[in-house]
């Protein structure tokens, strides 16, 4: 009856019951709240040109990124002459080239990435629903069964509690909650909504921060904060009275509501951080008259993506948030800058005809090189956005303390395969991982059983669960299992060779 009952399958190591928020029910005094803070100064000074510079002890930050349409392995995998630490990204049409492109991104970030081959997403679902597995490590049946890594770190472990925004879910073009379009999940695999409007993303992080030095404006802002807090106190009180009248399942709904109010409350709290921080320019909606896929938003995806990347990088650098997901989109519109068919999905991903490098061991011919290139262009485009994110973080002094995990939902998109999914770690990772490497996991199935199922004893793949465990441990989590799979071996342990 309650959706919080622990899964029968292997689940998160931490007992679910300890994840529930506990609330001090004492209500704040309205008048005290109203009377204080009137003379306090805002922490952001718009005139200051200083930016937050990396201190050695900057807290570690996490960004999970989805990019669509799998991968053209022919333009992505290690070449024969590459080694783990000495590899070339500048060969013709290499889709990882943006990470070694100082002319475009200011410097080479080759020593700040780890590209990993041979990762499997054990969704047991159609490739299109497998985005849900990237940060949950869960099988997907309508939704995943457990929360996502960003939420585990930010909420369960409380690593996001000290920042203005505990965690953020940003996306381009689609605000739907279906598993194919969502990376962030709360308890029980409840999809969390995404922000697709750059203006709303800006407001989430920066609204109300800038009040200038005008005493009247400062007083007005203080009153607004006080009123906001009064409303939250009022709603808190009402929820707690209702909470006493309902059963456990309904209490869980109200507990989530209370958690959300606590997040909202941060909007009405003065920042006490002493960090100096430059607020980016508020996006101009005229740049993107439409933002939703299928409602004419597509022509603006490129500019929307750049705005989201820039806002996110600044928010991370200002320590306004430490946890975010970013769901990237394709460029499915006529006249797109890559010169690809208007329907990227039907016109690029499906026709991909792989060579043996990209067909998961499926017996077949040499493939059609003409179909590799358009897909590699899509991959390269998305990696370019990740390189831009790294460049911005670097400019703001936050790259060293950031760990980016980027993945597609599929490997070979024509097969809708969830095997050999392109996997990238990027950033300085706070020194937790040795960056500047290419890793290749062992073959997932033996030659005698190349299509072995995930449940077969022959399966020896590298589920991304192990990567999630490695990342969680890098953040200090004392767990050795993450995700929901029938076989505990798939969810347990770190990714071999990563650290």
């Amino acid at each position: 009856m309650t959706s919080r009952s622990p899964s029968r399958l292997s689940s998160l190591a931490r007992p679910v019951s300890t994840m529930l928020p506990r609330y001090a029910l004492a209500r704040r005094s309205f008048l005290k709240s109203l009377g204080s803070g009137l003379v306090a100064l805002p922490f952001v000074d718009m005139l200051a040109d200083s930016v937050a510079r990396a201190a050695d002890d900057q807290p570690l930050k996490f960004i999970g990124i989805y990019h669509p349409h799998g991968v053209a392995a022919e333009h992505w995998v290690m070449r024969d002459t590459d080694t783990e630490t000495a590899f070339d990204l500048s060969f013709e049409n290499c889709s990882l080239a943006p990470f070694d492109d100082a002319a475009t991104y200011g410097k080479s970030y080759k020593d700040k990435i780890i590209a990993i081959e041979g990762i499997e997403l054990l969704s047991s679902a159609n490739g299109h629903e497998t985005a849900a597995t990237i940060l949950t490590g869960s099988r997907v049946s309508g939704k995943p069964s457990n929360l996502s890594l960003d939420q585990y770190l930010a909420v369960t472990l409380g690593l996001g509690a000290d920042t203005r925004v505990a965690s953020a879910a940003l996306a381009i073009g689609t605000d739907g909650a279906e598993p194919g379009a969502t990376l962030s999940y709360g308890e029980g695999g409840a999809p969390l909504p995404k922000i697709i409007d750059p203006v709303k993303a800006f407001d989430l992080f920066f609204a109300g921060f800038v009040v200038g030095n005008d005493p009247e404006a400062i007083a007005a802002a203080a009153r607004q904060r006080a009123l906001g807090n009064s409303v939250i106190d009022f709603v808190n009180g009402d929820i707690n009275r209702l909470r006493g009248k309902v059963g456990p399942r309904e209490q869980q709904k109200l507990d989530q509501h209370l958690t959300s109010l606590r997040e909202l409350e941060k909007q009405f709290t003065e920042m006490t951080s002493s960090a100096a921080c430059t607020v980016p320019t508020k996006p101009n909606p005229a740049q993107f008259p439409s933002i939703k896929a299928y409602n004419g938003g597509e022509p603006y995806y490129d500019v929307i993506t750049d705005l989201m990347v820039d806002i996110l990088a600044q928010a991370m650098a200002c320590d306004i948030t430490r946890f975010s997901t970013l769901y990237l989109a394709d460029l499915s519109y006529a006249g797109n800058p890559l010169g690809l068919p208007a329907d990227n999905h039907g016109g690029v991903a499906h026709p991909y005809s792989a060579s043996p490098i990209g067909n998961d061991g499926h017996p077949g011919g040499p493939g059609d090189p003409a179909t590799w290139l358009p897909l590699a262009q899509i991959n390269r485009y998305n990696y370019g956005k990740i390189a831009r994110l790294m460049q911005r973080l670097d400019e703001f002094g936050a790259l060293e303390s950031t760990l980016i995990y980027a993945s597609s939902d599929m490997g070979n998109p024509a097969l809708h395969s969830t095997r050999n999914v392109p996997t990238l770690l990027a950033g300085g990772a706070g020194g937790k991982f040795q960056m500047g490497r290419r890793l290749k996991m062992p073959a997932d199935c033996p030659d005698t059983d190349i299509w072995c199922s995930f449940d077969s004893p022959n399966f020896n793949g590298a589920p991304n669960n192990k990567l999630l465990v490695s990342i969680a441990q890098a953040f200090g989590a004392e767990i050795d299992t993450f995700g929901t799979q029938p076989n505990p071996a798939d969810t347990t342990g770190t990714l071999a060779g990563l650290v």
Binding site: S230, F234, D238, S260, H416
Partner: protein, 498 residues
């Protein structure tokens, strides 16, 4: 069903603030989308997550500020210098009761008055009222429909209060808060009786809000509300973007016409040999004129643009999606996902020497695929006479090679009560419309859409099915009669104790 609370859907939120404040604003349209269960937005799984909490506060704040010009009528006060608190108490009583859909208790009054004082302190009476409105619109009393009774438990069962029943009935049938008439029936005890509830369901069903809610139920039943977010490759389907909204409008107009001119049964929804279209959509359909038009080649909702486009790929038809939609939504048959069966999905590769049907027929040849696809494909293939945006065709066109003739004949041989040979999807739809299994599924779907227990509803569905089974034959397939049967039942008014 258990004693429960259910957050208003975004559409219900909009209807509620509109009724409460007399505004035409629809802020819920910009909220994060509702969680769906079984395809339905009305369900107990809706939550208030941090993004929504922020949106709710922004919306409440904007609505409260916008309401200030009407405070004279909403919160009148002859002398704000002397009697402001009394005026505020009076406003809180009237406004709070309407917003919470129940009388206030002392705790409600005290906390609302404290909120008023926080807003008015060092400011004005109006500032206090504004803050009360902002708070009320975020209060659980407003945001959640409660079905928890008055605290009295008898044999582990609670009976919903008259106000709870009124709210449940009103949102189920109209998607809005109770009107004055319904509140009067709640007050005089009429809603305690099945007959009293039936009369109110029948009255509300015929209202404009009732019609809009019926359209929503039908759309969510077939998943065709997604037409507004459906896209096609403009290089293949050039006309689609121009008629997409017309397709959404067609569903709206068609459902209303069915309810106004027929018994309003599933047979009418799926078997009508006419539709209601704009002239632009008529042109796509090869029909002349606009409005209600005979369309014998386009029988029922399954052969209209919204269904055919939602269940179509961006660049070609989707026989599998169409077939699966009929199995799942119309026949309540849970077809397994191939991945749960460890079947590797290999979408048929493009091949300009074969029709879509010929390419997809590969499924029937692979023993791993055939078991399910022998159920799916014969349904889906019968629609091949319609392209992926629902335009009629006899030939399938290719970019660089000759067109090929399409084949929409089919044989259904799966032990259904509509097994047989059909020349087209319209013939098939006419048969499906008369199926008793489909009628039974429709009743189950209508129950799901109203009962709001989402994925947990299976057990309650059996209880409902048992009472539905006792209905007269002519009522079993009718949307209104199914809703009446639910509203009259104990499922509607009784809940398991918390």
């Amino acid at each position: 069903m258990p004693a429960r609370i259910r957050r208003l859907t975004n559409a219900e939120y909009d209807a509620s603030v509109q009724q409460l404040l007399g505004t035409t604003a629809a802020p819920g349209a910009d909220f994060p989308p509702d969680t769906r269960q079984h395809g339905y937005t009305v369900n107990e799984a809706q939550r208030v997550d941090p993004v929504l909490a922020r949106a709710l506060d922004a919306s409440a704040s904007a609505l409260a500020t916008a309401a200030r010009p009407s405070f004279g009528a909403l919160a009148p006060c002859a002398d704000t210098s002397a009697g402001a608190t009394a005026c505020a108490q009076s406003f809180i009583d009237s406004f709070g009761q309407r917003a919470y859909r129940r009388p206030l208790d002392d705790d409600d009054r005290a906390s609302l008055l404290a909120l008023y004082e926080a807003g008015a302190e060092g400011a004005t009476y109006e500032d206090g009222i504004e803050l009360v409105i902002r708070g009320v619109l975020q209060s659980p009393g407003f945001l959640y429909l409660t079905e928890i009774g008055d605290g009295t438990v008898t044999d582990d069962v609670v009976t919903l209060t008259d106000h709870e029943v009124a709210a449940e009935l009103s949102y189920d049938i109209t998607g809005r808060p109770p009107d004055d008439e319904l509140l009067a029936r709640a007050a005089d005890g009429t809603l305690d009786t099945p007959e009293g509830r039936e009369a109110e369901v029948r009255r509300l069903f015929e209202t404009e809000a009732g019609r809009a809610r019926s359209v929503q139920i039908v759309r969510e039943w077939l998943g065709i509300d997604r037409i507004v977010a459906t896209a096609k490759d403009s290089e293949v389907y050039e006309r689609f973007a121009d008629v997409r909204d017309d397709m959404a409008q067609e569903t709206n107009d068609f459902v209303r016409e069915v309810l106004s001119t027929t018994p309003g049964t599933v047979s009418d929804f799926l078997g009508a040999d006419w539709t209601v279209v704009s002239s632009e959509l008529a042109a796509v359909y090869d029909l002349q004129g606009s409005g209600r038009l005979d369309a014998p080649q386009r029988v029922g909702l399954l052969n209209q643009g919204a269904f055919l486009s939602v269940y179509g790929h961006a660049h070609e038809t989707a026989p599998v999606l169409r077939g699966v939609a009929i199995l799942r939504r119309v026949m309540c048959s849970d077809i397994e996902l191939p991945t749960n069966l460890d079947v590797q999905i290999v979408p048929p590769i493009p091949d300009p020497t074969k029709t879509t049907r010929e390419r997809f027929s590969i499924h029937a040849l692979d023993p791993g695929c055939a078991n399910c696809h022998n159920a799916i494909d014969p349904l889906g293939f019968s629609f091949e006479q319609f392209d992926s945006m629902g335009a009629y065709r006899t030939m399938e066109d290719f970019k660089d090679s000759p067109s090929l003739p399409v084949d929409s004949t089919t044989v259904i041989d799966r032990g259904t009560d509509f097994d047989g040979s059909y020349a087209s999807s319209s013939e098939l739809a006419a048969a499906i419309a008369q199926s008793s299994a489909v009628r039974e599924c429709f009743a189950r779907q209508v129950f799901r859409s109203a009962a709001a227990e989402g994925q947990n509803s299976e057990g309650y569905e059996e209880s409902f099915h048992a009472l539905w089974d006792t209905l007269p034959e002519d009522q079993k397939g009718a949307l209104l009669d199914i809703l009446v049967a639910y509203a009259k039942s104990g499922l509607f008014t009784l809940r398991g104790a918390p």
